[in-house]
Amino acid sequence: MSDRLITIVRFIGLGFLEPVIRLARGEEAKKNLTEILKKIVAPIASILIFLFIWQTGSTALYNKEAAHRIEKAFNEQGQEGADAMALCIESGNVSCRPNTLPSPTQVKASFLSLLKDHKIIKADKKAFKEKTAEINKKRAEAGETLIVYTGRPSFVDQITTSLKTVFAGFLLAIFIAVPIGIALGLSETLKSSLNWLIQIFKPVSPVVWLLLVFMIVKTLNKNSDTDSSFLISFISVGLCSMWATLVNTIMGVSTVDKDILNVAKVLKLGPLQKVFKVILPSSLPLIFTGLRITLSVAWMVLIAIELLAQSPGLGSFVWEEFQNGANDSNSKIIVAMFVIGIIGFLLDRIMLTIQNFVSFNKN
């Protein structure tokens, strides 16, 4: 049973847990302890060092900012003003708090407050739903539009929105890049006639894609009154991120092993059979490598695109907090940074697991 567990743990890329399982089973205590030291204790130590550097760095920046403020008050209002400012900073008053890189403790506090905020909003939503349940029922019967909650979204809501956008973009990328990639990989003529397009548009920045999509969607969507910001952001994400999949699919399809193609010929597979039974399966590992890159690129550009497209999500959360300038805005931005990083990491791990699952040359 534990052998199975080890295989699963390795499969999903959590191989560092292997020595713990083996140790719990009582296997080679010394060897597994060194493994644990290497794979678990050392990373934890490095996290602690990171936090320490962050703490010292943010304290130093805080002191510098405070000194600057006191000096400024001294220059403008003399000694009295400087003393007042020093006292004010000492008391931790919001109005004169030095605004700089937040410390780990502040970030943690912000994280907790964001969670608390989420709970409040959730409760609020629930109450709203209960309150409007009956009216909505009547409205639905009468065929009128329903009353929906229009309050402020919580941080967790923003994450969900971002994930939705990234998945919509990712799906779009798959639906565009994989079929086109297969077609281009199969036909040398198509490939050479469209190669310029790929080479030119591949390095274009997300921001420019967003503007391009904006130009088109704005015109197409003129008559409908739906909010086009989601449409714009997910299409841009898809267009920015699809190139890795496109290039990898072309490569995978056009470089199928010659021996394998000979088999297809000797078996006399029809053209469709050849594509679905031989070419696609053998290029699947490369396609999935492309998809993995696509998803991580999609998540990376999503933040910038949401920020510019004014579409709800983590990107606009970061931008709003930056514009907001409240005393805990900076620490909220850092929270968002970590959340973005961790979600990106998890998405990559999920893709890696799927990739391991479909690739046949495991050994």
Binding site: D259, I260, N262, V263, K265, V266, L267, K268, L269, Q273, K277, V278, P281, S282, L284, F360, N361, K362, N363
Partner: protein
């Protein structure tokens, strides 16, 4: 008219000044039910010759006739066993053979195909590994899958391109016997390409050496007048075996030497004396 005929085959790779003629003036006639072996050095164009016969390649000039019809494409009538197994790595043993059976017998029932696939897996003794992928099998097992796949398509002629080249001596011996018994059972025509003279003598009715390329061409044929079934252990003492073996090896050595003497350019070496350190 022979069963398989190769008439004045030339095969050139490349064009213009870069062209290299791999095969020149190949003439080969194989009768129905015959087992012919072609022996040659590595790099002499054996695989090119095989691909011309199975239809993967087209000759630059000359014609390949199979039952009187020119070969223009691959056909289910000619089963191929490739040198490097060429299994589809994402499919299991069963699926690899089932793909071939489905293509050859598209109109038969599922039941029929299933029994056929299982029968051939049984025949090469791979039933315990039926749901394994090629990556999990040893070289000998993979080649057995490849043999089962070729035979499951019920070809009239089996073309084998150094099928046992990469295997160890013991596995090799077993598979030679397996191939022979299958050939004997259904009296198919067989063409074996090999670099092992002993293997050729043990298995074939005729051995034809391929003179090394470029411009590879077939040498004089050697008939093997040893009664079947041949016994591998007794074969070594058979005077006929010894004689044929010596003749073929002598011939191959001769052309091997020819190759080295004709291709060697003379290098002028500087007149240097080793220095003496006292």
């Amino acid at each position: 008219m022979a069963y398989l005929e190769l008439n004045n085959i030339y095969k050139t790779y490349g064009k213009g000044t870069n062209a290299t003629e791999v095969l020149s003036n190949i003439n080969l006639h194989i009768e129905e039910g015959e087992f012919v072996a072609i022996v040659g050095f590595s790099g002499s164009g054996k695989t090119t010759l095989v691909n011309l016969i199975n239809g993967l390649l087209k000759p630059t000039s000359g014609e390949v006739l199979f039952k009187g019809q020119p070969v223009i494409d691959t056909s289910h009538e000619r089963g191929v066993i490739f040198q490097n197994y060429s299994l589809l790595p994402w499919l299991t043993v069963y699926q690899n053979i089932s793909v071939a059976v489905k293509e050859t017998f598209p109109k038969e029932s599922k039941q029929f195909r299933d029994t056929r696939v299982k029968k051939y897996i049984e025949m090469v003794n791979l039933t315990p590994a039926i749901h394994k992928r090629p990556g999990e099998l040893s070289g000998g097992m993979r080649q057995r899958v490849s043999i089962a796949r070729a035979l499951a398509m019920d070809p009239e002629m089996i073309i084998m391109d150094e099928p046992l080249g990469a295997l160890d001596a013991l596995t090799r011996g077993n598979l030679q016997d397996e191939i022979l018994s299958i050939w004997d059972e259904n009296k198919r025509t067989a063409l074996l390409i090999t670099n092992d003279v002993d293997e050729g003598i043990y298995m074939a009715d005729r051995i034809i050496p391929l003179r090394p390329g470029p411009n590879a061409t077939l040498g004089p044929e050697f008939k093997i007048n040893i009664d079947r079934p041949r016994d591998k252990t007794l074969l070594n003492d058979d005077p006929e075996f010894k004689k044929t073996r010596n003749d073929i090896i002598e011939y191959l050595m001769e052309i091997g030497q020819e190759r080295t003497t004709t291709s060697a350019t003379e290098y002028i070496l500087p007149e240097l004396e080793p220095r003496h350190f006292d």
